[in-house]
Amino acid sequence: MTDAPRSFQEIILRLQSYWASKGCAVLQPYDMEVGAGTFHPATTLRALGDRAWAAAYVQPSRRPTDGRYGENPNRLQHYYQYQVIIKPSPSDLQDLYLGSLRAIGIDTALHDIRFVEDDWESPTLGAWGLGWEVWCDGMEVSQFTYFQQVGGHDCKPVSGELTYGLERLAMYVLGVDHVMDMPFNDPDAPIALKYGDVFRQTEEEYSRHNFDTATAEMLLRHFEDAEAECAKILSAPAEDPRTGKRIVMAHPAYDQAIKASHLFNLLDARGVISVTERQAYIGRVRALAKACADAFVTTEAGGFVPGNANADTSADATA
């Protein structure tokens, strides 16, 4: 039986070492503002193409509309997701996942763990998959998805993706009712810090900024800049004139897509996007993500074999 973890960070550390022991490359968070761990290129782009892949990482995630000035017990505009992606999905992925719950102190003989139908779809990434939300005693603790399409491309082979909402999971494991009361480091440490000591003030500041002071015109301009830049990067010829090498700039272009997506979220929180405009913005971000996916599959990491110009890289639009 595993002993119970004592802090938020211990849960993260245990997940890191568990997935490292199962052969995942433990990556670091992507250094941009994203809405979820799926946006990390280690998931979105690496789910494409036929190269095997296994990675796990923490991803700070921002959802400006969820800001509650640090007052709501479980809603935050900035939170952490733990993300695991393995391609091709191994046949024992459910068991591996259950092992990770045991690693963080959830005794699966004492709790009621269930896989409840939940089909995942990201309209901004042009991605979808089938899977479940995982319930522990009636609470959703993870999202479990077999990717079928990303950026409009069929995933072959299929990646298995696990996403843990870290705060919620940790609150459950640690028996804490308000996120701000959760021990961040060891409660017996010389300088014991709670989650609120680290994040209450920032939640307040960002809530105010996101809802009331972010400059909508600037956000709009930046959105359009990112959109234009993404297209410009992708329109550059594959051959780099400086090195003479074939360098398709899928990742720099994808950075612009991520930026556009976050700017859209900020505009949404600012309340300046009408219901009818919403769909149009989501479509614009999706077009960027799709273009980046199209570019990625023509790169080496995306499974492109140099010299094989006929490699089938066309998007399969069946969904």
Binding site: A109, L110, H111, D112, R114, F115, G131, M139, Q148
Partner: protein, 686 residues
């Protein structure tokens, strides 16, 4: 006669797809077996969250040999023809038969197709079934190409007879069939092998899996009821939830918990909806107070602490959910107490109903005016109807309905009561949505009826005005349902309404005749279900006042009953005979014979008797019609049957005497006019 056992073991199958999938498996496999020439005695399909199973009993061990006879070339035909025939049949010359025919002798071949063993057929049929399975949504996984609802892990495929059990050799997507499976994910995870269906079901039970969904549902229901009963409480029935929950567990463990005292004042429907939608909990009611005081959750595991941890966790999640609900409830009540439902509904002017029909606020304005108009015709106070219409949609802006859209109307009623609106107004807020479907209750309270009619008629006339009518299977605005709702409101309350006038008042841009025809179509569907044939309805629709549906239906019911009698049948025939002769004569002569027949030209007894019968029946029919007593009117018409029959028997209408002929045609015209008073009998078929 071997028995066949199949199990497809996978990761968790969505609960809503399981029942259909089990039936599909049974259908596709048994159909495939029969098509390939096997027979079987019986078949049963089973399902749990992780497996579909099929048991086929009394399967034939092999398909029969079949013999095909083929005629070949004539004896003495060119060598080439014979060679070709031998090649195509795979036989030698000695194996052919020579038969005498009219034109000489011919070769005949008897080709025997050997029967195939059940194994080979089962392997082929099951492999095809798995590959082409009709999942509503399926997926690939790993590096494979096979599609299933979630990753498929193993295939058990076993034929069992007196000699024992044997695995049917087959492979699909890299999975080889075997005789093994696994039990419960946590309580019986080890692999085990089975030898027959009985052995399979028994061993699964030992490994904590109840194979039969009905058995799981029954176990949940009886255990939950008895736990509630032991506390002097009762379980709130919910068949849909029971079926769903039975599809979420392989080993149901029923746990009952308390709802925190803080939440007991929430309306029972709120507690019930929140618990059901979010947590799949059953509600437990205190029969003395009618309040929901506890919940029942169904776990999938037995634990050493008897579910204490699970119950505590679930209770915590529920408390968080109900805190939200309580927050919504209190916020909504505060708004209503301060400014009434009117204040709550303020934002409706910003909510679009349809871009060509304006905002929700515009729509409410129209419904209020129409409800006022309808009120006196349904014995409702006009002021009450208008008031109810003005607040009926306000709860769409409440936080509670935002969270639980299915509580619309009901929450409005709670808030109307909190605002101390008249009880009939509050009731109308809830009831004006009804009836929602063909089996939903129909409001009877006058204010509710007025608003319910106004709401639906506004929608129908509005969409007719902008030409957004239902086409084929497409009815995105549920206009058929709305029309049926109006029909049921009218009929069950016996309302006498002139629909065409109401259409014009609702939206004068709508094509009222076309909309009325739409109502007539819906009415036909509704009445056909009650056994009234379409030609009877058509005969009544052809009469004046057909926008008064209560009158139309009374007419149709009387006619339908009358036509079932012998009198009715004969009168219809008599009418048709009279009508045919008359119509032909009118066409030939180019005149209409409606001038009035004169009894003084009547010749024989039969003709005189018919005049007398018409004279005698007329006042009775007129009297019955003035009372809208269609049954009595038709009974009076029935008295004409014998005289009409006798008349046609004895009298020649088209005689050479033009005076007599004209008079008799005018007599037929009287019959026609009389018979057409209740319905257009010319539309009756047969």
């Amino acid at each position: 006669m071997p028995d066949l056992l199949i199990e497809l073991f996978s990761e968790e199958i969505p609960a809503r797809m399981q029942a259909r999938a089990a039936e599909d498996l049974k259908r596709l496999v048994t159909d495939g077996l029969v098509e390939a020439g096997l027979t079987y005695a019986s078949a049963g399909a089973f399902r749990t969250p992780r497996r579909l199973a099929l048991s086929v009993e009394g399967l034939s061990a092999a398909s029969r040999d079949t013999v095909e006879e083929r005629k070949g070339p004539r004896v003495g035909a060119p060598e080439k023809a014979l060679e070709g025939f031998l090649r195509s049949t795979g036989l030698t010359l000695e194996q052919l038969e020579i038969r005498d025919e009219k034109k000489g002798q011919s070769y005949f071949a008897q080709i025997t197709h050997k029967g195939r063993p059940a194994e080979a057929i089962v392997a082929e049929v099951l492999s095809r079934t798995i590959r082409d399975f009709p999942w509503p949504k399926s997926m690939r996984w790993g590096a494979g190409e096979l599609r299933w609802v979630r990753p498929l892990h193993s295939i058990l495929c076993l034929l069992t007879d007196e000699e024992g059990a044997r695995v049917v050799p087959m492979e699909v997507g890299g999975i080889n069939a075997s005789d093994t499976t696994r039990g419960h994910r946590f309580m019986g995870p080890d692999e085990f092998s089975v030898t027959s269906f009985e052995d399979y079901e028994a061993k699964l039970k030992r490994a904590c899996v109840l194979l039969r969904a009905e058995e799981r549902a029954e176990a949940i229901w009886s255990e939950a009821s008895s736990q509630a009963f032991a506390q002097g409480l009762e379980l709130v029935e919910d068949r849909g939830l029971l079926d769903e929950v039975a599809g979420l567990v392989e080993w149901p463990v029923v746990l009952m918990g308390e709802i925190g005292a803080d939440f007991l004042d929430l309306p029972p429907e709120v507690l019930q909806t929140s618990m059901k939608e979010h947590q799949k909990f059953f509600s437990v009611r205190d029969p003395r107070t009618g309040k929901i005081t506890r919940f029942v959750t169904v776990a999938n595991i037995e634990t050493r602490d008897h579910g204490a941890t699970i119950l505590a966790g679930n209770g915590k999640v529920l408390a968080a959910r109900l805190s939200d609900a309580k927050f919504f409830w209190e916020n909504d009540l505060r708004i209503v107490r301060e400014g009434g439902l009117e204040a709550m509904g303020e934002g409706l002017s910003n909510v679009t109903f349809h871009n060509r029909l304006g905002s929700q606020a515009d729509r409410i304005e129209r419904i209020a005016a129409l409800a006022r108009e309808i009120a006196p015709q349904v014995s409702a106070e006009a002021d009450d109807a208008e008031r109810a219409a003005r607040v009926a949609k306000a709860d769409l802006r409440s936080e509670m309905v935002g969270e639980f859209p299915e509580l619309q109307g009901l929450m409005g009623r709670y808030y109307a009561e909190a605002q101390e609106l008249k009880p009939e107004v509050a009731a109308a807020v809830q009831e004006h949505y009804q009836p929602l479907g063909p089996s939903d209750a129909v409001p009877a309270a006058p204010v509710s009826v007025a608003v319910a009619l106004a709401d639906k008629l506004d929608t129908l006339a509005g969409f007719w005005a902008i030409d957004e009518k239902p086409t084929g299977s497409k009815d995105p605005f549920a206009l058929r349902r709305a029309a049926l709702g109006v029909i049921r409101l009218i009929l069950s309350n016996g309302l006498r309404l002139k629909l065409s006038e109401l259409f014009a008042k609702a939206d004068d841009r709508a094509d009222a005749d076309d909309l009325l025809a739409f109502f007539h179509d819906r009415l036909k569907v509704h009445l056909r279900a009650e056994g009234i044939p379409h030609d009877v309805i058509d005969a009544c629709i052809a009469m004046p006042g057909n926008d008064d549906l209560a009158l139309l239906v009374a007419r149709a019911e009387a006619l339908s009953a009358f036509l079932k009698t012998e009198d009715g049948e004969n009168l219809t025939q008599g009418f048709k005979r009279a009508n045919n002769i008359l119509t032909q004569a009118e066409e030939k002569d180019g005149v209409e014979y409606s001038f009035g027949a004169d009894a003084k030209f009547a010749e024989g007894a039969e003709e005189k008797a018919l005049f007398a019968a018409l004279d005698g029946a007329q006042p009775k029919i007129d009297d019955a019609m003035s009372r809208e007593d269609f049954g009595a009117a038709m009974a009076a018409m029935a008295s004409l049957r014998a005289p009409i029959d006798a008349f046609f028997e004895a009298v020649q209408v088209n005689t050479d005497n033009q005076v007599l002929r004209r008079n008799r045609l005018n007599l037929l015209s009287r019959i026609r006019t009389t018979c057409l008073m209740v319905a257009d009998l010319s539309k009756i078929e047969g």
